[in-house]
Structure formats: structure tokens, C-alpha cells
Amino acid sequence: MILSPTRPASVSGQSPRSGTRLRFLGIGLGAFTLLLVSVGVAITLGPADVSLVNVRDILLNHLAGADIPIRVSKEAIVWDDRLPRALVAATCGAGLGVCGVILQSLLRNPLADPYVLGISSGASTGAVVVAILGVGPAALGIPGGAFIGSIASFAVVLLIARLAGGSDDKVILAGIAVTQLFSALTSFVVFAFADSDATRGVMFWLLGSLEGVRWDDVALCGLAVLGGIGFCLLRAQVLDAFAFGDDVASSLGVSVRRERIMFMTVTALLTATLVSVAGAIGFVGLVLPHAARFFTGPLHVRLVPVTALIGATFMVWVDAISRVAFSPSPLPVGVATALIGVPVFIAIMFRRRRAQ
């Protein structure tokens, strides 16, 4: 192989790599700015008239201790309703996107996402069991039920996959089976035991909803998502190493089994937390990693933060639109993610095909 004629060194070497580093910085900064602007603009949207200047003043009042006079009703709308809502939307987009990145890497399947592993359907079942059947202590609430349900369904998926041989496609098959099972259980509980009011409330939650989120939800989701992103960034190389399967990862020094368990646990906890607050928001975990790869390439040290930023921005807009589009009655977020996400996804697929 030493025999082959040497080609100009500029094709490989350092220059294009430092070029991609600059480009990555640009993309990262751009995406971050876009997210901040999106949150600001999204807050102004809605039936009550709030301007960007109002938003700035209210933020300065609360965060920098300024004392700019502003009407109490506007202040309440922005600070108690729209801002926490936009922030929870952002954490959901970021967190679900990152979970998608993890699962697509570990399971080596571009179609993997948190919902393929049955996590959302388990959450739904947990939620309706609490909401309609009234199982469990009152303090548990719907979010608690959803959290327990999603962890339980995820455990069932892994158990079935393990007993069936443990390969990646077994995990996905088990996930699909368990998703169907828990969806049926949810429908069964709703059909058999719910009155129409309860049904409407639960259905709305099943399709994803950010109605009435509060600052403690922001704190919970924010901590979970930042923790998840930090974990992935510290182990970005491990996610890279799985590109060619477990044996290659192992030969690159990855303790395959331990890393898998850790990443799966992080994914399950993060998804369960987000689902318990915002309901089942589909499609984000599947699509956003692909959109981000289009900008960053496959290496996770870049892919993870950009997926988080793009995911956050995407969800902020989806939530704003779902709030405003059929105002005053809100559209479930899960419906809007799919309606907006699918065309975006198809456009990316076509563009990539042309790029090849």
C-alpha cells in the first residue's frame, strides 16, 4: 500500500479540519442565537398584546433587579405563563433530540427514538391509570404515574430483548411490540372506565401539551436536560465508537455492556421526566438528530450540542404556533410536531439525496 502514488496532501491533512472547527463554532453560535431570539419572539405571540420591548423590560425586572414600570397583566402573562412554557418547550426539544441521538448511535438504527422503545406509551398508560382509575396516592399525580409507567415499559422492552437474544434489532422489535401493548392498555382503560370529560383531558395529555407548566417544571426539565447533555458530551467518543457495532467499539476500548446500560438509563430517565411534564411529544427524537447531522456530520461532540439547540428552537416554535393557530383553543403539541416535522424531514431527505 506504500506503493500507491502520493496525492496532494491538502486533500487530507490539517487545513480542512481546522476549517470544520471554525464552521462548527459558527453553526453552534448561530443556533444558540437563533434559540434566544426564538424564545423572545415566541413570548410576544398570542392573544394578549406583548411587544419585544415589554419582554426585555420584564426580563430585566426579574433577572437584573431593574424597576421598569409595566402593566401587571402583561407581567403575569410573560413571567408566569409564556416564558416558563417556552423554556419547557425548549428543554423538551433539546432533551428528546439528544435521546434520539443516543439511541440511534447505540442501536445503530436511524429510525430509533425514545418512543420506539415504548417509553411514551408506557407513560400514557401510567398517566391514565392514575387519572382515570385513581390508582396510587394522590401525591403521585398524573406526572408521577407517567414517570413510573415509562420506566416500567422500558424495563419490559429491555427484558424481552434480553431474553430474545439481546441484539439491536431485538430491542427495536421488542420496543414496537411493547408500544402496541401499552397503547392498547391505554385505550382499554379510557374506553372501559372514563367518562367523556376525563377522556378529553387524558387525550390532550397523550398528544403532548404544555398547558399550565410552571417554573418548577422548568427547573425539573432544565436540570434533567442539562445533566443528559453533559453526560453525552463527556462520553461523546463512546457514542462515536459504536458506529461500527459492539465488537469494534469494544476493540476501541469501550466497555460495551456498561456503557450501554448507562446510556439507556440516562435516556429512560430523561425521556420519562420530559414525558411526565409535557406528555407524549412524538417525532422530535427521531427527526432532529438527522437535521443536526446535516449541519455537523456524525461526530457526537458536535452533533449532541447542535441537536439540542436545533431541537430546542424547533419546539419553541412548534409550541408557539400550536398556542396561536387555533386560539383560544390550543392544538396539542404532538399534533403540531408531526405536522411541521414531517415535511421538514422529507425536505432534508431529498436534499441529502441530491447532495450525494
Binding site: 500500500m1 506504500i2 506503493l3 500507491s4 502520493t6 496525492r7 496532501a9 486533500v11 487530507s12 491533512g13 490539517q14 480542512p16 479540519r17 445503530r108 438504527n109 436511524p110 463527556l234 467518543q237 462515536d240 465508537a241 458506529a243 461500527f244 457495532g245 459492539d246 465488537d247 469494534v248 469494544s250 476493540s251 476501541l252 476500548g253 469501550v254 466497555s255 460495551v256 447531522r293 456530520g297 456524525p298 461526530l299 450525494q356
Partner: protein, 262 residues
């Protein structure tokens, strides 16, 4: 002081795929693993790489059990090229080769300089400099094979394990590859199908059948018509090449057909 096995056995689902193999290469040596399909070559390589644990016996690196060494530490000493390692990820040649640097890097990246040097050296040795920016799914089978070997070289190992690395390569690259690994100052264990390539390039051979060692030693001692008939069930003529003083094997298909008819 190298990668060794002592009476190693792997019982996979009730079948002994590796049965009591002892392998003790000298440092820097190239050892060829021969044997028909399903004889345990790949399984032995997986045991040596530490991807799986033996049911009985020991795999040791510098006299320490491989199971007691962290995967990361092992990966700094041992690089493995398996068969059929494919990906759905849109990743460039350069990035794949750079994966080989993972065991040498800390959480926040190690020496960028050393990484870049190791990667470009590996690309050069495998003749892939011109393909550094190419995407994996656009490469031919032979190029993919070379990318994996480049990735293993970027790992800068002391021990190199190769499972049928000459598959998919045309004859020039088969020869170049084996020339390259025999010249590297690393101990290499390579599973091969081609007996002539094994005879030409390996310092020692280990022949497996049904998971057991049936012959071991220098190519000249091992590659006899009797052994080839025993292991592969084919009739062969072996001569010693004047120039290289290594065995040259010619197969006699007609005799085999006669026997099949009989």
C-alpha cells in the same frame, strides 16, 4: 511478553467453537490462523481481542489476564479488524481512522498533534490519503477493508488481530497488506483462507479444525499435502519455492471430483 492464550475454550450455546487452544507468539511475529469455515478462527480472534470471555482457560496480555485489564488499556495495546464491520452512519474515511485514537484520548481529547500524525500516517500506509474526505458508503469493499486496517494502525497497537483482512481486496492489495503487516513491528495474528498467502508471509501457522488445533509451526512444517487433505478435504501438491524457500501449494481438483463420484 505478549498476547497469549493458555488452553482457552469457548462454549457458545453448547458448542465448543474454540477447544483448548494455546497460542504463544513471539513479539513481532506474524501468525497465520488457518482452517475451513467454522473451524473457530474468528472465534479465537474474538477471544484474543477480549470482545468475549473464554469459558475456560486464559487469555493474557503481558502475563495479566485480559479480563482484569480495562478495555481502554487493552485497546491501547491490541487493535482488531473484524469481518463485516459496517455502519449506517454517514462518516468520512478520515473520521473513521481517527476513531482509532479514542483509546489514547482523554475525555477532553489528548494530544491533537499525536492524533493528527497517527491518522495521516495510517492513511498513508494504507494508500488512502486521497480518500480522506470520502464517505464510507461510497467506498468499494476493498477500500472499506483498508479503512478498517488504517483505523487499527492509527490505534498504534503492539498486537494486531486481523480476521480475513484480504477478503474483498484485489491481488495487489492482498500482497501489499500482508507485506505491510509483516514489516510492522507488532505481533500479528491473522486469519487467512489463502494457503499460499499464509505460506508466503507468516512466520508461523496455527491450523484449526472444529475448534481444535491440528497443527502448529513454521509454514514449511505445517503445510503438507497430508495436513491439507485432513483439514480441507482437498488433494494438493506442495513444492518448495527455490527463491523464497517457502511452500507453494497447487490444488488438484480433478482428483477431488473422482473421489466425489466414487
Amino acid at each position: 511478553m505478549t498476547l497469549q492464550t493458555r488452553d482457552v475454550t469457548w462454549n457458545r450455546g453448547g458448542r465448543l467453537v474454540v477447544d483448548g487452544i494455546t497460542l504463544d507468539p513471539r513479539p513481532g511475529e506474524t501468525i497465520g490462523l488457518l482452517g475451513p469455515n467454522g473451524s473457530g478462527k474468528s472465534s479465537l480472534i474474538r477471544l484474543l481481542s477480549g470482545a468475549v470471555r473464554p469459558t475456560a482457560g486464559l487469555v493474557t496480555l503481558d502475563d495479566t489476564s485480559l479480563a482484569a485489564i480495562s478495555r481502554r488499556e487493552a485497546a491501547r495495546a491490541i487493535a482488531t479488524v473484524t469481518q463485516h464491520a459496517d455502519t449506517v452512519v454517514d462518516i468520512t474515511v478520515c473520521d473513521i481512522v481517527a476513531l482509532g485514537r479514542i483509546p489514547h484520548r482523554g475525555v477532553f481529547g489528548g494530544s491533537r498533534q499525536a492524533d493528527t500524525e497517527a491518522v495521516s500516517d495510517a492513511l498513508e500506509r494504507t494508500g488512502l490519503q486521497g480518500k480522506a474526505g470520502e464517505l464510507w458508503h461510497r467506498l468499494s469493499g476493498g477500500e472499506r477493508q483498508r479503512v478498517h486496517i488504517a483505523r487499527a494502525l492509527a490505534q498504534q497497537p503492539r498486537e494486531l488481530l486481523l480476521d480475513e483482512p484480504t477478503n474483498h481486496l484485489d491481488i495487489r492489495y492482498q500482497l501489499d497488506l500482508l507485506q505491510l503487516i509483516t514489516e510492522l513491528p507488532v505481533t500479528t495474528v491473522v486469519a487467512l483462507h489463502d494457503l499460499n498467502l499464509a505460506a508466503m508471509f507468516c512466520d508461523a501457522l496455527l491450523v484449526l479444525k472444529d475448534g481444535r488445533a491440528v497443527a502448529a509451526g513454521s509454514p514449511n512444517d505445517v503445510l503438507t499435502p497430508e495436513l491439507i487433505a485432513l483439514v480441507y478435504d482437498v488433494d494438493a501438491t506442495v513444492t518448495i519455492d527455490d527463491k523464497t524457500n517457502r511452500p507453494r501449494i497447487v490444488f488438484n481438483p480433478s482428483n477431488r471430483n473422482d473421489r466425489l463420484k466414487a
